[in-house]
Amino acid sequence: MSIRLQLLIVALTTLVLPWAGCQYARELETALRDSQEKSLLASAGTIANALSAQPQRVFRDPDDAAAFDLKSADLYVYPLASLPLLDGYRDDWGIAADPTPLPTTVGYGARVQAGSTNRYLYLYIEVDDPRFEAEPANVHPDRDRFDRVDLTLQRADGAPASYFFGTNAPGLIAAQSVVTGDDGRSRVVEEPRIQAFWLQTRAGYHVEARIPLSFVGTRLWIQAADGSGAGKAGMSAEDAPQGGRLFFTMAGLDELLGTFIREGTRATVIDANALKLGTAGNLGASSPGEPDAAESWYRHFMAVDTSSFPVHASKPDRQDGHSVSAALAGSPHAEWVRSTASPELLLTAAAPLVIDGRTRGAVFLEQAGDQLLSLRDRAVTHLFNLTLLATASSVIIMFGFATWISLRIGRLRAAADSAVSSDGKIRLDMPESGSGDEIGALARGFERLLARLNEHTQYLRTLGGKLSHELRTPLTIVRSSLDNLESEDLREDQRRFVTRAREGTLRLQSILSALGAAARVEESIKQAERMSFDLRDVLLSALAAYRDGFPQARFALETPLDPCFIRGAPDLLVQLLDKLIENAVDFCPPLRTITVRLERALGSYVLQVENEGPPIPPALHGRLFESLFEQRQGRDDKPHFGLGLYIVRLVAEFHGGTAVAANRPDGDGAIFTVQLPLI
């Protein structure tokens, strides 16, 4: 694994920062939520206390503590924001349809819903009676049978007043009542102040009635009766003396509540039956606009799980939920709920409304949780962005640093690899040796090592020449002594020893000559003069000499047909050729061919000496041309010091060229190639 990758992985550990940020944000959210709950609870408690000090502003009848009872036809009166049109439709009431079924024993379906403005009580009565039976003319309500709705209102003075609705033609009608005249006869009169609209539909009929509040007390009785048969729903004053109670919201309560609450909060006062008595405020627009992709991503990534929150579906007339039931039981409670409408997340808190030591209702507050969420999101997004930025920049910096380090090491490695070139030259300067860190120290270590190696190599390289020179004088002493000895009168056996000694000195001489060969060539290269000469001519004459000199080898020559002029030293070039040919002859089996080839190439001449025979072992490639490199198994008694091909290289380099060795493509022999530039 590269250093770069390793450091990159290390850098990735900084990702723990955003993770820690997430954890922190969650804790933050929990704490915020906690404090929001507390504050909302406190608000609810404050409002409840304030309201309990003035119960007459909350309850129409502060002393009536009886519970709302659907079975006894208690009716909740919705506050209406606008005046509905009397048209038999409820659509313009502006509230959700929530009719209360009228009690029936015979399965006659009828439902009623009540609403009020500050002047009128509106009743909306639906009766499932598809067959219309008209009210006869000169009706006798006690006798005649027709589709009718009886309405009995308890007036302000406590006496009941009975009316009925019936018509011979659906449309706008007035309530009718039976009055007893001064003559003791009863007759039917219209009460024009109680208006209604009779709408006949396929499923039945609707009666939308408008009653001035001055007619309305706290109780009423409603009964719908079928014109034919026994279908009947609701109750009459005779059947149920208690009647149904009307639950009004208090006018002015909404305004009163409004003074307590802030923007974004909705307050609802409920009575002990959880019926809404008054409400104020709104939850405000949902979160401003759609959350952008990044925020929702963060939210998805780490939001507190809200799916376990109870779903809060508010009913038009009543409030429910855990907090409501807890508050009505006497203890304040706060709860997070999910809403089906926007905003999705709500914080609800309810505090009991205690009057005279009894829990008479509760103050219920709602607040959008999205505010909190967006607050949290902003903080977290910020935090997240910051930590991500920090992580990204640290990763980038680490990566860059690692790249830099690994580049430096790579450069050092490349330099170390190529410090000893294939021709044995040693490059002494290392990159990075100027830097003060460990890599610089390593580079300087390399430099010291290479300097020593270079000294050693130089010593070895010059050793041959030095030895050859230093041994020459003692050798001359021996030889001249032998010369003198030979001129003495020697016995035959003595002369034999002298001859042997002379042979020894001759061999020693040739060894010294071979040892000093490279030094001599180096010397003559220093003094060589360049001239223009015909390479082809040199090859032709030299090859003639080799044919005489090495009768055991066959020579083939391939040259261009015209002269090949280059600038250089022909004597040195002949020495180069000598060495190549000697080498080829040494490795070429008898009676096999040595090919000398001269070719023109782009900007240079290519001289090749190719011999059949064993290929060059792979381990030797690239080292053959080094000084003092000798690996051959002795095949003759000539001394070899690995200087021949070194001389080839020296001469090739003197001519600005190169020398390389390769095996023949068929593996049967070797090709030595010298490239000589034209200039």
Binding site: T476, S480, D483, Q527, A544, A545
Partner: protein, 229 residues
């Protein structure tokens, strides 16, 4: 009277060996180990021939200085340089100190004796009146084998003894290639190839000083040299 030869050589064994060999040939030998001793003696009496090593004790080129001083004492005294290094041959030529011959120490004692004898013969021949019998003429070149003198277009070419024998060997059979061994045999020396090459180079330079267009000594690569008319 015996001819007196001075040998200036710092290596005692070598010095004695040379002395013994030349003494056997009937010369009177004086040997010196360094330049100062030699010069003192030369001021008292000049030898008939001096053999001088180039490196003398701690003077790497003491022989050159000695040669210059000796030449100042006598213009005719034959001087032979002995060197341990091939490269010095070029230095000698560059210095043009007026040595009559220079040999590497590889030379065998019989060859040295022959070379000494040849030098004396040249001196003797120069003192005697002309006899034209031994003169070889090849175009602008004329070689007097008796006096070991060479002229080109009538101007004398100052060749060393070794060089003289090489030119002589080449010019006697113009057009024939003489390989290095043949040239060494002709010059009575044992030299390696490089030394022959540097002799040839120096000879060409000497001829070219007289005639810049000189081109008579041709290299036949890998084989040797030939004289072209």
């Amino acid at each position: 009277m015996k001819k007196q030869i001075a040998i200036v050589e710092d290596e005692p064994a070598l010095r004695e060996n040379y002395a013994a060999a030349l003494a056997r040939h009937g010369y009177a030998i004086k040997t010196y180990g360094n330049r100062q001793n030699a010069m003192q003696a030369f001021h008292l009496r000049l030898p008939d021939l001096a053999i001088i090593d180039i490196a003398l004790e701690d003077e790497a080129e003491g022989g050159f200085d000695l040669c210059r001083d000796l030449r100042a004492l006598s213009a005719e005294l034959p001087i032979i340089f002995l060197t341990a290094r091939d490269s010095e041959l070029d230095a000698v030529s560059g210095l043009r100190l007026g040595a009559d011959d220079f040999l590497t120490k590889d030379v065998s004692l019989p060859h040295l004796a022959a070379r000494v004898a040849a030098l004396f013969r040249r001196i003797d021949a120069l003192r005697r009146p002309d006899n034209a019998a031994e003169i070889v003429r090849r175009g602008a070149l004329s070689i007097d084998a008796e006096k070991m003198q060479t002229t080109w277009n009538g101007a004398p070419v100052t060749l060393s003894l070794t060089e003289f024998w090489i030119v002589h060997a080449l010019a006697r059979n113009p057009g024939h290639v003489k390989n290095r061994q043949q040239l060494m045999d002709a010059a009575n020396v044992v030299l390696d190839d490089n030394t022959i090459t540097s002799h040839i180079k120096r000879m060409r330079r000497k001829f070219q000083q007289i005639d810049a267009a000189f081109d008579a000594i041709q290299t036949v690569y890998g084989m040797g040299y030939r004289w072209v008319e």
